[in-house]
């Protein structure tokens, strides 16, 4: 799957889970940029991403999620 397709799907997940159609994500987006992205919603987001892409993250991978780019790169690596 191409990187652009991944970020598009992740954006759709964010919009759905956070109930906000105005969300725009880029690789450098962090939780500081999106008010509704907090520790509670993060679990729902990661769960939804796992389901969408049919992958399971590990603890070290979760540790590395500083921004949306890190999440997407990990998805890409796991799908390759």
């Amino acid at each position: 799957m191409q990187a652009q397709e991944i970020i598009t799907k992740v954006t759709d997940i964010f919009k759905y889970v956070l109930d906000d159609d105005t969300i725009v994500l880029c690789e450098t987006t962090t939780a500081t940029d999106i008010e509704e992205w907090d520790s509670l919603s993060h679990i729902q987001l990661i769960g939804a991403i796992e389901k969408q892409f049919k992958i399971k993250f590990t603890a070290p991978e979760i540790r590395g999620f500083k921004n949306v780019g890190d999440i997407c790169n990990t998805i890409h690596r796991k799908l390759s």
Partner: protein, 300 residues
């Protein structure tokens, strides 16, 4: 506020902006009284880091490793409704007998006492109410907990001559506790509480976050009751809905905890519920948000 906390959160922010966001929000809601108490804890924590020849980078690294473990366990808990471990043997192999895991996990937990509002509220509840129970404490026992937080406070407030013992199943936890408590006459006992036999009773027993680590919590509470003088007091803490790499027994609510306390022949004298997220209690219960339960107990 001690400059250490903003430094710690800034270090966390660089690696995990999401988590730093939560910490900043929670710390804002601490009362003035709590902040003063908080600083005393932070000073002790800084001394502890010096004692083990480590710095804040180590502390934050340990803490964030622990956080990522928690996130993963939370994910699986939401999927299955169960904790990932079901036996003490599993956890012993995975965690307690694994020094690499114990080092980051126990140091991460110690830092969480400073950074997590619900941990802080429990500590605050203990320190504020402890004076009610300190008359005639000659022998104090702390079981598990991994860091020596409560006994450390007891040492500060109880009279010279009080005998202190700390029992833990893990050598790593004993070392961490020794370094956090600092110079003292604490008798450190490396032992499984179920195998602990002694010809004496204690006047006060503390056991923080151990019940959820055993397969039979009633049995453990009965053990504590049998180690307690008739007029003695026990202080315990244990969480509900708290998936973790080393948790076995799932408490779903405070009533389940109170029920096993009663089954062990103990009675709750005073208690507190501290939720991990700032939500109305009804919502927190609906979303199965982790709740830390703390209570003072007496024999029935």
């Amino acid at each position: 506020m001690n400059k250490t906390i903003p430094q710690i959160i800034e270090l966390i922010q660089q690696q995990n902006p999401l988590h730093a966001k939560k910490l900043k929000r929670n710390l804002k809601s601490l009362s003035e009284d709590n902040v003063v108490h908080y600083q005393l804890f932070v000073d002790k924590y800084e001394t502890y880091l010096k004692n083990i020849d480590k710095n804040l980078d180590f502390a934050v690294d340990s803490y964030l490793k622990m956080i990522s473990d928690f996130v993963l366990e939370q994910l699986r808990f939401i999927e299955t409704g169960k904790y990932s471990n079901t036996s003490f043997e599993e956890v012993n192999n995975r965690v307690y007998n694994n020094p690499k895991v114990m080092e980051y996990f126990m140091n991460g937990l110690l830092l969480s006492q400073v950074l997590w509002k619900h941990h802080y509220l429990i500590y605050s509840f203990f320190t504020k109410n402890f004076p009610t129970y300190t008359k005639n404490i000659k022998n104090y026992l702390e079981i598990g907990g991994g860091h020596g937080l409560f006994i450390s406070h007891a040492i500060d407030v109880l009279p010279v001559g009080t005998k202190f013992s700390l029992l833990d199943i893990s050598p790593t936890s004993i070392e961490i506790s020794k370094n956090f408590i600092g110079k003292s006459n604490v008798n450190y006992i490396l032992e499984n509480i179920f195998n602990f036999e002694i010809n004496q009773k204690y006047d006060f027993i503390t056991m923080g976050e151990v019940l959820e680590h055993v397969e039979n919590p009633v049995e453990l509470l009965v053990k504590l009751k049998n180690l307690l003088n008739d007029l003695g007091t026990i202080f315990i803490t244990t969480p509900t809905n708290a998936p973790s790499i080393d948790h076995i027994y799932l408490f779903s609510n405070a009533e389940e905890i109170r029920s096993i306390i009663d089954a062990a022949g103990l009675t709750v004298v005073d208690d507190i519920k501290a939720y991990a997220e700032d939500l109305p209690e009804e919502k927190a219960i609906e979303l199965k948000i982790t709740m830390m339960y703390g209570c003072f107990l007496r024999k029935q």
